[in-house]
Symmetry: C2
Subunit: 289 residues, 2 copies
């Protein structure tokens, strides 16, 4: 953390807020600022003691030696414009990193837009909750969690080392990964499950209308756990769907095929293979620590 003295977070939501909170809890002695379109978010962050100051226009970016983009991935273009505009007279070197759930082309976009201006290092902390907002910031959110760092052939080695150190100090396990490979992995284990969770809630809504019964009144604890991630931020997830479009469409395709497999087993009364299907899935799920 002592690689930096003045950190600005763009987008003070649950992830940006948790990042600030855990910097402070981890003993970071420098200044932490935030930029957010919503002035009341800045006020909340200050009164919660999570940030030292902030604004809606990006003035605070002028003095930062580290800028952390923590907005939905659909906003990156305009965030990069703001960063460029606010830092055009800056003489000191600075680093820009991000906490976005999609990397791939976005990392190259950041590199291109910031070329000659700042060193960019892409990252993605594998942590979060279904809640939103700085007021839901979580102590120790990143402790023990994976942090995926996605350098490219253009990434500055010193900047990468500093970002790695920062996340290790927050308690994360840092994993280096190609940004496009990252997007394939998280389309599967994160993006698809979120889409499925939203879909199943929509399905229950449609089936409620068909039956003329509020089916949500009959859900139990299993359903609640199962659909918890459907309470996640819609704008964040909308943006992820478009930024990781091809990979996500591919995972939906495979998922629909497995559903068809189950449908066929049920239709054909194939008791043995349906049991095996469930048994294998259970075994795989049991193995997750």
């Amino acid at each position: 953390m002592n690689n930096f003295n003045d950190i600005s977070i763009v987008g003070l939501g649950l992830i940006g807020g948790s990042f600030a909170l855990n910097l402070k809890r981890g003993g970071f002695k420098g200044k932490i600022s935030a930029v957010d379109l919503n002035p009341s978010t800045i006020d909340k962050g200050i009164s919660l003691g999570i940030i030292d100051n902030g604004d809606t226009s990006g003035e605070v970016l002028k003095s930062s030696d580290l800028i952390v983009i923590a907005t939905p991935v659909g906003t990156y273009k305009s965030v990069l414009e703001t960063i460029k505009k606010k830092t055009c007279n800056k003489k000191e070197k600075f680093i820009v990193t991000d906490l976005g759930s999609v990397k791939g082309n976005l990392v190259y976009l950041c590199e291109k837009e910031l070329y000659g201006i700042a060193k960019f290092v892409g990252g993605h902390p594998i942590a979060g909750t279904e809640k939103s907002g700085v007021e839901n910031s979580v102590p120790d959110l990143f402790k023990g969690a994976k942090f995926i760092i996605t350098p490219t052939e253009n990434t500055d080695k010193t900047a990468k080392r500093k970002i790695k150190q920062l996340w290790k100090q927050l308690g994360s396990e840092v994993i280096e990964m190609n940004p496009f490979y990252h997007d394939k992995i998280f389309a599967s284990v994160s993006h698809l499950p979120h889409i499925v969770a939203y879909s199943i809630v929509d399905t229950i809504d449609i089936l409620s209308a068909n039956l003329g019964e509020n089916l949500f009144g009959f859900t139990g604890g299993g359903f609640k756990d199962f659909t918890r991630i459907a309470m996640s931020d819609p704008v964040m997830w909308r943006d992820i769907c478009f930024e990781n479009k091809e990979n996500i469409l591919e995972t939906i395709k495979v998922f629909k095929e497995t559903l068809s497999t189950i449908e066929n087993l049920i239709e054909k009364n194939d008791r043995e293979n349906l049991r095996n299907f469930f048994e294998i899935a259970r075994t795989k799920r049991n193995r997750i620590k």
Copy 2:
């Protein structure tokens, strides 16, 4: 509970075991026996103090005034045969009830097979965990939970009243429902989500093979919650799929249509409607208490 003196549970798993455990905790003074194909399950139940005695053949059924079927729904035919065989010389009246997740035709099957032998009342406690086995029996599992009782035009009123009383004493909210209507509701809110959870684990497994990477190593807390129900008993869920086949196939159809809706929105870059889709799902999910 004082309507009964000698209760036998057929199938001492998590649900049957929890039923016995909570009878005892609720002050039931009579005898509780169990029948289970696995002798070590009986031994476990006795040593845990959950049941008083039991056997693998069904001898204990001879003295019961209440028999509770708590086996997977695919076993009902053979369980009914055992009950009939063991109680053929019985003079005292007795009641048979069940705890199965599918009702509909199964309730009529039980009525038909037990006609002139015992009074049957179908039931389904909306409670459970993803675990299995008597050793995972849960104190207060049914407290505050719904218990669906599914009488038919043939159901004996006194028997129904006694079963209702029993579940109220266990702390459940008793809801009367047509057995076929029950199956439509739980195909939606319980059976479909379990199938989807198993399917998504299978999908991650296929995608792991495609990518040559163990994707399960990259799952986070959201994925764990999301797939917890995929750790449920495969035989129980296999049986549910076949006993509630038509309703389940219908819910899978609707679910695949909502997935196609999302696919289309992503393909067409329809940002506004995809956000709305997620927003509406989130709002519906947030309303679940």
